[in-house]
Symmetry: C2
Subunit: 340 residues, 2 copies
């Protein structure tokens, strides 16, 4: 055990999961009503059983740098991040969001106003009102600019877990991979690709509600592939579900611009964060229809079936390139801090 | 309007209220169900009407420095802060808390473990389980140590507002004033009083539940006097309720150690933050019985009636010293940053 916190402890991979398990989950009291999903599940949020429904709660801090990036900003990210975590639990009927802002002394008011406008626009788009908040100021040099912590509450009559994958399930992604992370990296590395690489940051509640209303019974698992990208989301889902996952590389939707930038930086888009995408586990007979349904929605235009759950190698992720198969390693940390 | 954020914008006084009004509240869409309390109320949290009950949501970021202080730490503060905001809306039946932690690279694991243990103990004491969380890491120098953002959800069948004061109401405080702020200041200024000055940080949910079960009908308003102290809480309550408040100085419960330290630093305890106290507006006929009820509980031992609401000077706070009366000025900012 490291006796100090390292950057990898926030990177969405194994190091972060171990820290959370060892520090926050182990020994935590389990005092929720029967049928609830609590801390120990390490899912996208908690689901508290209340009669025949669940109240779902999620929370995130957003520390992205820079706060304004191609395709979005920290305000849109904060709303989308929370709405998406709720949606990934099946909860698309949002009661409200909370928004706690920490500002560095000297932060420009004009930037704050732009971020608040962006929060409002995303909140309207997501039908998820911000109902309360908090404002703190730290001294110069005590915090880098702005940090936004959001929490969300929503109800659902069925909880979707990230642990529900079964052998035979198909893996569906709702769109192209790596857009958010590569857009942020392009700015940080001055790749000069700002016009081409745009973050996909978007609230997915309406897309997921549309999907669940038509194919709810076929959905076995959901997760949003944020920090650590699709690979990390699938490693976690495979491990929790006790299945292996074979990814069909030619089917993975990746924009040409993202692939070029990733090649340039020597990064695999499989590991790069997305902020407007979902990974779904799907009963095989429904998978084609699900993709058709997703494509009806603007945020699901490039939905695709990308893999299959198998009994072999439970917990492992295998990439089928069309020419052969290779194991996709699990990230311990990730080279890209402050991505969300 | 300042074009940059200043420390006073986080200090709990008028500057903070103006920033929140101008930036976060003005122009925000009002889309909550009839009878709800939203952003525009600028209360301790939001209350969303759901049939014959309200779902109450609150959120806070905790940035206190130092993270460990006499009588508590940032973990206990985070739980108490959120539980108390819920309780101040009348919501003591807590569904769950969320806890998002931001750590600086290099932060000692051992300190994190102590803080998590403290969160758990406070959560047990408050009967408010932490149900979900988030972990982020920022680079060295990008954040000062640790920041914890918490949100809470609770139900109530009656919402208590901070705007409900009426002429004739008595003002009750649940205990001594200024303990938290003076304990933190004593450490920062090396006053050498660490053994004597202890923060009052405590979750008030059980005390408030006990009070409301016996005297719910008599309670007209509640607020916790955190940043900016009792004076700032009362200024806000007086202004929202359209009443003047006359404080009876000899009745104000202030520990001798707190008064000595405050004198030493030239600070009025009226303006100093509390983290385990509530200010209550009370129908006059119930006030004595309420104080007796509060004193039955360990957290209410030094409860006292400290003032009266009057029709004169609505929005103003007047201190009756026993020899004469003087106006208590409203804080714009406050000299003590990062107190909570």
């Amino acid at each position: 055990m490291n006796d100090r916190i390292l950057m990898k402890h926030g990177a969405g991979g194994r190091a972060m999961r171990t820290l959370i398990e060892e520090t926050f989950v182990r020994g935590a009291p389990g005092e929720l009503p029967e049928g609830s999903v609590g801390l120990d599940a390490m899912d996208d949020g908690a689901a508290i059983r209340m009669g025949d429904r669940w109240l779902v709660m999620t929370a995130d801090s957003h520390v992205i740098s820079p706060a304004f990036f191609p395709g979005g900003d920290i305000g849109r990210l904060a709303v989308a991040g929370t709405v998406n975590d709720l949606a990934m639990m099946g909860a698309t009927e949002v009661v409200g969001l909370t928004c706690a802002v920490i500002l560095e002394e000297g932060y420009p008011r004009e930037e704050l106003e732009r971020i608040v406008a962006s929060i409002r626009a995303a909140s309207r788009e997501a039908r998820a009102p911000v109902v309360t908040g908090d404002t703190k100021v730290m001294g110069r040099g005590e915090i880098d600019g702005i940090v936004i912590s959001t929490a969300g509450v929503a109800f659902t009559s069925r909880v979707v877990r990230d642990s529900g994958l079964r052998v035979g399930d198909r893996i569906v992604v709702t769109g192209t991979l790596g857009d958010h992370g590569m857009a942020v990296m392009s700015v940080r590395h001055n790749l000069g690709l700002e016009g081409e690489l745009l973050s996909d940051v978007a609230p997915l509640g309406q897309l997921v509600a549309h999907l669940l209303s038509k194919h709810g019974d076929a959905v076995t698992a959901m997760k949003d592939p944020t920090r650590g990208g699709l690979a990390s989301a699938l490693h976690e889902m495979a491990s929790k579900g006790g299945v292996g996952i074979v990814l069909d590389e030619p089917s993975l939707p990746v924009r040409d611009e993202v692939r070029s930038a990733a090649d340039l930086l020597g990064i695999d888009p499989l590991y790069v964060a997305n902020e407007g995408k979902a990974v779904l586990g799907m009963r095989p007979e429904a998978a084609e229809a699900v993709v058709a349904t997703l494509r009806e929605h603007p945020l699901g235009r490039r939905a695709a079936i990308v893999g299959t759950c198998v009994a072999e190698r439970p917990g492992a992720l295998v990439l089928d390139t069309g020419f052969g198969r290779r194991l996709v390693a699990e990230l311990d940390g990730e080279p890209l801090p402050r991505i969300c």
